[in-house]
């Protein structure tokens, strides 16, 4: 997280830590974790943890470890042999079904899925919060959870972004309406190691603060500028159907 602050897991109880590759995810149910497809691509048995602000090994031993029963990558995700040259992050979304249900509490609880109405399609300027143990301005990885608040930006801002690094050809990347562009202000952004975590937006229909996962951290060109997030609203039907068809392992 660039431009953020240290946070406690109680601020982001849905935050899931993927240890290898280091990434994030969002708990959406007792048995299901939502993450980016590129996080679990090629890794059918990710090891995950919830409930700890710190990902120091000694702290993780005390946290709840989650074991994957099965990984469901969105069928629209483009499978590549060489992921290093990926320019198409469309449908960067995946579900991890867990073997055992997660016990909820103050440091572990799910984030809501967006509703189907347009109210849950965040407009430009809408603020969202992100969290993760990814790269910061000072360190490639961090031990303590960091968080930041950033606004939704026009997708064009991401498309038109021109960095200093001439090796990055933005125009070669695919941009679709399955993506949300956010950030661009004061260096606040997600970065490597944060992918799969939720871009959480406050539910407009609730008086008390309640967050839904508007986006999932997907990719970007330079940390501290704009970032592209998978638009979760477009996948709610797929998510619900996948969950419904597969149920919970204990019920099978």
């Amino acid at each position: 997280i660039f431009g953020g602050i240290t946070a406690k897991i109680e601020h982001f109880p849905w935050q899931v830590f993927f240890s290898n590759p280091r990434a994030g995810g969002a708990l959406i149910d007792e048995y299901w974790v939502l993450t980016a497809a590129h996080v679990v691509e090629g890794n059918q048995n990710p090891v995950m943890y919830v409930g700890s602000s710190s990902v120091q090994t000694s702290k993780l031993l005390k946290a709840q470890m989650l074991t994957a029963e099965r990984v469901f990558i969105h069928p629209g995700w483009q499978v590549l042999d060489n992921t290093d040259i990926r320019t198409n992050f469309d449908n960067d979304i995946a579900l991890v079904q867990l073997k055992e249900p997660v016990k909820m509490g103050p440091s572990v609880s799910p984030i809501c899925l967006p509703g189907s109405s347009s109210e849950y399609s965040p407009s430009v300027g809408t603020l969202g919060i992100i969290s993760g143990w990814g790269k910061s301005e000072l360190r490639d990885i961090v031990i303590k959870l960091r968080a930041a608040k950033l606004p939704v930006a026009p997708l064009a801002k991401c498309q038109e972004w021109k960095g200093k690094d001439s090796r990055v050809d933005v125009s070669s990347f695919v941009f679709t309406h399955n993506m949300i562009c956010a950030g661009g202000e004061k260096g606040v952004d997600s970065c490597q190691g944060d992918a799969g975590g939720a871009f959480a937006v406050q539910d407009p229909n609730e008086e008390d603060p309640k967050y839904y996962a508007a986006g999932l951290m997907s990719f970007g060109f330079q940390c501290g500028t704009y970032g592209i997030y998978t638009r979760v609203q477009n996948y709610v039907d797929w998510i619900r159907k996948t969950m419904q068809d597969n149920g919970s392992p204990s019920k099978d």
Binding site: I28, S109, P110, A147, K186, K210
Partner: protein, 422 residues
């Protein structure tokens, strides 16, 4: 040794009897005989009440006579001057003289013979209950036809016991009815009907005439009915004192008619019939009897159904009804079975929630489920209340028998992130 006759003479008879002498003779004839004692000579000093000289005749402690003075025969054809006749077989004769016999009295001469006693007539108490037959030296009793002589050889009775009545309707009367019943008898009858029927005895007041009770209320002659552990009676008197209809509740009834020696009356006559034994119509809570009747009798079968929410439990099996049969003893079969409230048992627990421990788990009881707030909430908020239903399951009006689900509350962090923006 008893003798049939004998002579008694005063001392020195026929010479002058001595002064100051007392002599006695014990006369004994065989049993069954009386004694005829007669004097043919009596010559003794006369004094008032025979105080000086006397001959005294004693029967036990009773003085039969005391003689003194001179006697002569009143009949020219008989030498007897004085005689005694006693119905007993023993007498004592006592002769006494005082200090002077100056006129030279010669005393007495007496004879005795055994004479037959008519036991049938000579005594105040009749020795036989019916017929008395005297013979020389004794008597014997005899009885009318159909009577027998008891072992005491004095009393007659009748052989009236042993009849067993098995027909469903019948009439029984005391011996000789309406003529006087026999004395000193014990008649035992039995009414024995098939199981499941009770003997009902009916007696008209005028058909009963038995020697009435004494001043202490004891019946000298009595009629008693015995049915199992129950006894009806004893009854006696003129007119039946008991209920006109006696429901004995038993298929076997003993009739005992006991008479004493005296006071024979007309006797009694009863009728009986068999009634199917009734079973009580028991009002048991929370149950319905089919068919509904005012009275149930032997072999009737009823279906006893429990009202909603109640069941009968036999062993480990519960049912909503059972059949009961009116038995021959007047009791219902399966009478221990009762309709009791259905027990739903302890409600099942649910993950991430809890169920309150209900005060009762019986039909109609209510329990509530709650989820572990604030991290879980009930999937359907109407699914908290469950009621123990008639079929023994906990039921929610929305979810039915399905248990409520506690689902995680989403999107609400326990702490809010603040002050991120600068």
């Amino acid at each position: 040794e008893p003798t049939m006759y004998g002579e008694i003479l005063s001392p020195n008879y026929p010479q002058v009897y001595p002064n100051e002498i007392e002599k006695s003779w014990d006369i004994e004839v065989p049993e069954g005989y009386g004694i005829h004692l007669y004097f043919t000579h009596l010559d003794m000093e006369l004094s008032e009440n025979c105080a000086y000289d006397s001959v005294q005749i004693m029967s036990g402690d009773v003085e039969e006579g005391k003689l003194c003075g001179q006697r002569t025969s009143k009949s020219p054809n008989s030498p007897v001057v004085e005689e005694f006749q006693v119905p007993y077989n023993k007498l004592r004769v006592i002769f006494k003289s005082d200090f002077s016999n100056e006129e030279r009295f010669t005393g007495f001469a007496a004879y005795y013979v055994a004479v037959d006693v008519n036991e049938c007539t000579d005594f105040a108490d009749a020795p036989c209950s019916h017929f008395c037959n005297n013979f020389m030296g004794g008597y014997f009793c005899s009885c009318p036809p159909e009577y027998f002589l008891h072992d005491d050889m004095r009393n007659c009775g009748v052989n009236c016991s042993g009849d067993v009545f098995t027909t469903m309707v019948g009439e029984i009367a005391s011996p000789n009815y309406p003529n006087p019943y026999p004395e000193n008898s014990r008649c035992e009858y039995q009414i024995l009907l098939e199981e499941g029927f009770q003997v009902v005895v009916t007696m008209r007041r005028e058909d009963f005439d038995v020697e009435p009770a004494d001043s202490e209320g004891n019946c000298p002659d009595s009629l008693i009915f015995v049915a199992g552990d129950q006894q009806f009676g004893p009854y006696c008197g003129s007119g039946f004192p008991g209920p006109l209809s006696i429901e004995t509740q038993s298929n076997a009834v003993g009739i005992i008619f006991q008479t004493d020696l005296t006071g024979q009356k007309k006797g009694w006559k009863l009728r009986y019939h068999g009634d199917p034994i009734p079973c009580p119509k028991e009002v048991t809570a929370n149950s319905i009897w089919e068919p509904e009747r005012a009275k149930y009798v032997y072999k009737d079968v009823v279906k006893i159904s429990c009202v909603d929410g109640f069941e009968v439990v036999e062993g480990k099996v519960g049912s909503t009804f059972f059949y009961s049969t009116c038995q021959s003893n007047g009791k219902w079969s399966h009478s221990k079975l009762k309709c009791q409230p259905v027990d739903c048992g302890a409600p099942e627990s649910i993950p991430n929630g809890k169920v309150e421990n209900p005060e009762s788990t019986l039909f109609g009881s209510v329990t509530h489920y709650t989820c572990e707030e604030k991290y879980y909430a009930m999937e359907d908020e109407r699914g908290g209340e469950y009621r123990c239903s008639a079929n023994g399951t906990w039921v929610n009006e929305v979810l039915g028998t399905e248990l409520p689900k506690c689902v995680p509350v989403c999107g609400v962090p326990s702490e809010l992130l603040k002050g991120v923006q600068r």
